[in-house]
């Protein structure tokens, strides 16, 4: 069966919404994923990442740990210090790239993503 362009677009939309539901399911995570997409070789502590993101460290830590759990981020322990960075996995980086491209250029996707996040917070 040959799929047309509309099928492909719909599938991509669904894949990206699954990514939102499963991995970027809060606005802090959204901010963090965007920050690491724009600054992909950042590696730092929770406290410093929170400063970069303009957030409170206590609020950021569980979100970063969730992103580690879901494979979006990586965490290394060095002498008792946790250092977070974007996952090196190429497939995951591609998903992060696609997510951010969609966020920037697709209003409908943005609206749906926000809806899913808000619904998930209830």
């Amino acid at each position: 069966m040959v799929s047309n362009g509309d099928d492909f677009t719909a599938r991509l939309m669904n894949d990206m919404l699954d990514f939102v539901k499963a991995k970027v399911n809060s606005f802090i995570k959204w901010d963090l994923v965007r920050f690491f997409y724009e600054n992909p070789n950042t590696a730092d502590t929770v406290e410093n990442i929170a400063k970069y993101a303009g957030r409170n460290a206590a609020a950021v830590k569980p979100e970063l740990d969730d992103l580690v759990e879901s494979g979006v981020m990586e965490k290394r322990e060095v002498e008792g210090t946790s250092i977070y960075s974007l996952a090196e996995n190429e497939d995951m980086r591609e998903l992060v790239h696609q997510f951010n491209v969609r966020v920037e250029g697709d209003r409908l996707f943005r609206v749906k993503a926000v809806y899913h996040i808000i619904r998930g917070m209830r």
Partner: protein, 163 residues
């Protein structure tokens, strides 16, 4: 003796051909005088004119800001990163120090993977956040610079550092 050309004509003339190889060089100046720009040009020229991959470690500016500032000069840092000839790492002094002290850390791995031969650290003054004691500060900076030289020593070619 061979010199490490910055590729900046006037500066290379003043330096009798460029920096001495395998050295750390401090660029000092008031805000807005172009310290970061000289560093970026040193890295960019190294990659594009001398085929020497470069690493930028920033403690202050977001990498995104580097990409934008470089683009204003017509330097496509994003493309160079995609080609694996440049990496802009954002971190903090405390994490970079821990990273360099650990085996297989991010900086060491990046240098090895890219074959980096030039490093820009912007800015070393951020180590002042770690201690108020000038003696301890000097020890920290000394340790950091030596930590940076170690992975570069593992590269196949002579290494150059500008700080």
């Amino acid at each position: 003796m061979d010199r490490v050309q910055t590729g900046i004509k006037g500066l290379d003339e003043m330096l009798f051909g460029g920096f001495l190889p395998q050295t750390a060089n401090l660029v000092e100046g008031a805000p807005g005088t172009g310290k970061t720009t000289i560093g970026m040009q040193f890295i960019y020229n190294g990659i594009t004119r001398f085929d020497q991959p470069g690493l930028i470690i920033t403690f202050e500016e977001f990498p995104q800001q580097y990409y934008q500032d470089a683009a204003a000069f017509g330097w496509d840092f994003g493309q160079l990163e995609k080609e694996g000839r440049l990496k802009v790492i954002m971190t903090s002094p405390e994490v970079s120090r821990l990273d360099l002290e650990s085996v297989g850390g991010m900086i060491e791995t990046s240098v090895a993977q890219m074959g980096a031969r030039r490093v820009l650290v912007d800015s070393i003054t951020h180590f002042e956040r770690l201690t108020q004691d000038p003696v301890e500060l000097r020890a920290l900076e000394y340790s950091f610079i030596n930590g940076l030289k170690a992975p570069l020593c593992l590269a196949k070619h002579p290494k150059k550092i500008v700080i």
